[in-house]
Symmetry: C2
Subunit: 190 residues, 2 copies
DNA sequence: CGCGACGTTGATTTGCCTCAACGATTGTGG
DNA sequence: CCACAATCGTTGAGGCAAATCAACGTCGCG
């Protein structure tokens, strides 16, 4: 059931079949309809989600009362609210399926168990975190180093598939601009 | 020599004396004068730095030809360019001491060795990464959710010690605003 | 069919930047 | 020890990029 995750893990580290089986036995599949939530504000986030197919987003409601997307998660990405998990406090985020989506659910307790029983799994998670952190740093770099227009153009050429799967107002939200702004940029030039 | 690091590690995980001694034997201390660099653009980043005392910053030169600070590192923080380390490509960042600073140097090869020999150390690094990632996410949240003025006021009340140790133009750079802007905000109200 | 979700376009506003000039403080070499 | 330069912060005037406000078109779907 979670061959896809095992394959993904093996892209980064060696994992024997026994450990693979053990990991598989601890993880559950969840099927989500479009617009379904796995986390809403006021709940405590208790799991890490691995996207098998489909597309998720993590967002919050900003002071201006608009949705502010902080992350997308495509196939083979993990998504969660680490802040809520670590602090054990209530989240103020939504995690929602943008399309019909299948996720593997790694419960927090299960994660703790897997980490102690399977050192290779801890290594995998460390590597994922390092990638996530690097991505986050890169994104911040872009926020500081590019104008809104440059950022949109860069995004849509680097991730053309996103532009197809995600409504424009979500791209706007992710980039921190208004939908009107994107509309104008597109009108100005192809 | 690196008791401070060992103490820090033990805040998060159990570490026996033998492993502690092994870690200590692999790490070197480096004393940096104010304004000294441990990384400059065009070099490959090869180590992770743990600040024992003093203060470091990580920054790059933006398109507009100004210094853009992406991170500070106070005592007990790690600082590095993971992107360069992972990709083995040349960095485009500076890592510089803002004050006279002492850092412990964890060379990349040494890190790899420690991680395989001391599982507890890998756990520690994973936890540090999770904290760093969470901090990065929080900062992005603030970038999206607050005006520049709010962000400055929030920063200076939450980190008053920073305001004392760091020149104002660096705070401006970190927040992504101009020094003039900060000056005006301060003039408007205490 | 009719309603809601999504995108477009125009007019106006605004928050912050840019450019420029000027103090204050620090530090450095003669 | 002083003169002078460099660094850092302040203040004013003007400009601009993107937001806001508002109206309208269109598509998809219950």
């Amino acid at each position: 059931m979670c061959e896809q995750l095992i394959t993904h893990i093996r892209n980064f580290i060696d994992l024997n079949d026994e450990d693979a089986a053990f990991i598989s036995s601890k993880i559950t599949l969840q099927k989500l309809k479009k617009k379904a939530f796995v986390l809403t504000p006021g709940k405590q986030c208790k799991a890490n989600y691995f996207v098998v197919s489909g597309l998720m987003r993590l967002y919050f409601i900003s002071k201006k009362d608009i949705e502010q997307i902080t992350q997308f998660a495509l196939e083979n990405w993990w998504i969660t609210d680490y802040d809520s998990i670590d602090s054990k406090r209530l989240s103020h985020f939504y995690i929602q399926a943008i399309e019909d989506t299948e996720v593997l659910v790694l419960d927090q307790q299960t994660e703790a168990e897997l980490i102690t029983r399977v050192p290779a799994f801890e290594r995998y998670l460390r590597i994922m975190l390092q990638k996530a952190f690097t991505a986050s740093q890169r994104r911040m770099e872009m926020l500081f180093n590019m104008t809104d227009e440059e950022r949109y153009r860069n995004f849509s050429t680097r991730f053309p598939h996103f532009n197809q799967r995600v409504p424009q107002y979500m791209v706007a939200s992710y980039l921190g601009v208004t939908p009107q702004f994107i509309s104008r940029v597109r009108a100005r030039k192809a």
